[in-house]
């Protein structure tokens, strides 16, 4: 690893550490999400130092390598979250299939209808999925994983903000339904926020995040392979 590579690793660690400290000090405000802050700060640093991204990645891929085993390890919290299902299995399966399909179709549909270029459309398809898995899926369907990372984080932040007011005021609050829809639509960032509202909402949000990640990761590449040009990559 070159000296620039070591510098890239050090800068990534330092920037993330600072962003995470700021996020914690803010009481975990969704708009100060440490990954978004880190990406913005490092992008600005690369710009200022006239360092091309491939030279940064030369060192930073040492960090990125561990994304693979960490993504595999996500199986464990997804498995643990299954215990939240209890007696709600039919509702969970129904909401998963309908919600997950809605998330993919509506993102692709709106972007396509507004004339977005195919790379944007493909990179948006998995935007509701937890970031590491969304990036892997995006790569499979011909999107840009870097764009998908940013879209997924923005979706998570928007979901964390929306959960407090988007649901219609009605007779009785069903925290399972609120939590499940929050986690399905806005993955880990929405889930973290759902936990601050209600314990049951948090548990169902985590459950939905895991199930949606599995469902989307298996269904979207198959759908993209079957669908015509609008979604197909490569």
């Amino acid at each position: 690893v070159s000296a620039v590579g070591v510098l890239a690793v050090a800068a990534t660690l330092a920037v993330y550490y600072a962003a995470d400290a700021l996020y914690r000090r803010s009481g975990r405000h969704p708009l100060l999400h440490p990954v978004l802050l880190s990406i913005a700060a490092l992008a600005a640093l690369l710009e200022a130092a006239h360092l091309p991204y491939p030279r940064y990645m030369d060192g930073a891929r040492l960090i990125a390598f561990f994304l693979g085993p960490a993504t595999v390890a996500l199986a464990i919290p997804i498995y643990r979250n299954l215990s939240a299902i209890g007696g709600s299995l039919p509702a969970v399966i129904g909401a998963l299939v309908v919600g997950s399909t809605t998330a993919m179709v509506s993102a692709v549909g709106i972007a396509w209808a507004l004339g977005a270029p195919p790379l944007i459309v493909r990179s948006l398809a998995a935007k509701s999925v937890t970031t590491p898995i969304a990036m892997a899926v995006s790569g499979e369907i011909g999107g840009a994983p870097a764009l998908t990372a940013v879209f997924a984080i923005l979706t998570g932040i928007a979901g964390a903000i929306a959960v407090a007011w988007i649901f219609p005021r009605g007779d009785r609050v069903d925290w399972r339904a609120r939590g499940f829809s929050t986690g399905l639509a806005s993955h880990a960032i929405g889930t973290a926020h759902a936990f601050t509202l209600d314990e049951t909402a948090g548990a169902f949000s985590g459950l939905a995040m895991g199930l949606n990640a599995l469902f989307t990761a298996l269904v979207l590449p198959l759908a993209a392979a079957l669908l015509p040009h609008s979604l197909r990559g490569h």
Binding site: T12, Y16, P34, V35, S38, I39, L42, L46, E47, M57, R61, F66, L67, P69, A70, T71, V72, A73, L74, A75, I76, I78, Y79, R80, P90, A91, A95, V98, S106, A107, A111, A116, I120, L124, K127, S128, I133, M135, A136, V137, G139, A146, A149, V150, F151, I153, T155, A158, I166, F167, A177, T182, L184, A185, A208, L214, L218, P221, L222, A225
Partner: protein
């Protein structure tokens, strides 16, 4: 950080299991020509295995916890790759805001309504059956 400390051998074994799963997933996806990412396939495989054995080995659990606590850091380098797309984002930001915001709102409301609908349908049927019997 961990009390009692995880033995080095257990930590290394668990890391080897995770990397080995990833490798197996990639080989399998490649050999079968599956469109699914090998890493995701590995995660799905580990998930199915956990359901089958119904327990998480302690060293794997603790190694994974350590890894998952820094998970957000691990996707920062790939995310920085967004610098290559800044002109595209500048041009398409309005479409993106509409697609992300619109899809998020639709997804949250549709998922919420589906879950409530099924729950109410089943509880109504359940109470009717209770009355019948």
């Amino acid at each position: 950080v961990f009390t009692p400390r995880l033995p080095a051998a257990a930590l290394l074994r668990s890391l080897a299991v995770l990397v080995g799963c990833e490798l197996a997933g990639n080989l399998l996806a490649g050999a079968l020509g599956l469109p699914v990412s090998g890493t995701v396939l590995a995660m799905a495989g580990l998930f199915v295995w956990l359901i089958a054995v119904r327990r998480v080995p302690e060293s794997l659990e603790r190694t994974s916890q350590g890894l998952l606590r820094i998970l957000p850091l691990l996707f920062v380098p790939a995310g920085v790759g967004v610098v290559a797309y800044l002109p595209l984002l500048r041009r398409e930001w309005l479409v993106l805001a509409a697609a992300i915001g619109g899809s998020l709102a639709i997804t949250m409301l549709v998922t919420w309504a589906t879950m409530l609908g099924i729950t109410r349908l089943l509880s109504r049927r359940g109470s009717r059956e209770a009355c019948d019997s």
